[in-house]
Amino acid sequence: MTIALATEAPTFDLPGVDGRQHSLGDFADTPALAVVWSCNHCPYVQAWEGRMIELQREFGDRGFGLVAINSNDADAYPEDSFEAMQERAEEQGFNFDYLYDEDQSVLNAYGAERTPEVFLFDGDRRLVYHGAIDDSREEAEVSERYLRDAIEAVLAGASPAVDETPAVGCSVKRKP
């Protein structure tokens, strides 16, 4: 079951494509943290990941942090293996942490269902926005920049005007 708005961020401690462990506590000083369910093989993720890079680039110096987590079953979907994640991050020049949730325990704690699916937390690590990055996978057709607006609001000490939207994308591939 997906966590509700205002819920405190479930903890995680996962390996990243940079070869290091990354935990929620590493972001203790981050005033706005987006945890985004992601993967390699989904065309929706691929359509949006450039915008994830751009958000980190645009807001990173204001303290915003973006963490992408791949929980997909790599036995059934080898395109989403840890090694493939490392290759994808290198090829695309990810400027955010890309973590591997191999046992799906973090997936179960958050209740994500799609890739990409955003959970934005404020400085108190309360969920303030959940859903899509924006309203179109076609960047030229975007009219509502949900995540960008929510980050702006959180960094300004306000609540996002839109706090929940449907995430559109591939299903998370759970283990049998």
């Binding site: 093989h41 989904c42 065309p43 929706y44 359509a47 591939c170 591939k173």
Partner: protein, 100 residues
């Protein structure tokens, strides 16, 4: 002309792709029946050589031959636009070419 439309319901792109296919058929004045099949299991995906959802074949030929040989799987299929950007649905141009 035989048109097959295969999809897996775990990927949300099939209604958009079906609409695009119907639009192109209508624009071309083609009254071809579309044989729709839902793929439920990995075994079915392998049996049908289903490289992802949706997969559209015209007279047995995939509308995107370049990605047709991908590993059969229950996932969203990745198509490429002419500029290389990824898309979960084939392009109008791919469908037009397949139906010409």
């Amino acid at each position: 002309m035989e048109i097959e439309f295969l999809f897996w319901d775990g990927c949300p792109s099939h209604p958009e792709a079906r609409q695009l296919l119907d639009d192109v058929l209508a624009e071309r004045g083609l009254d071809a029946a579309v044989k729709v099949r839902e793929v439920y299991t990995q075994a079915e995906a392998e049996e049908l050589r289903f490289p992802g959802s949706p997969t559209i074949r015209v007279d047995g030929k995939d509308v995107d031959p370049d990605s047709a040989s991908a590993r059969p799987a229950l996932n969203c299929r990745i198509y490429r636009k002419q500029d290389g950007r990824p898309s979960p649905v084939p392009t109008r141009e791919q469908l037009e070419a397949a139906l010409s």
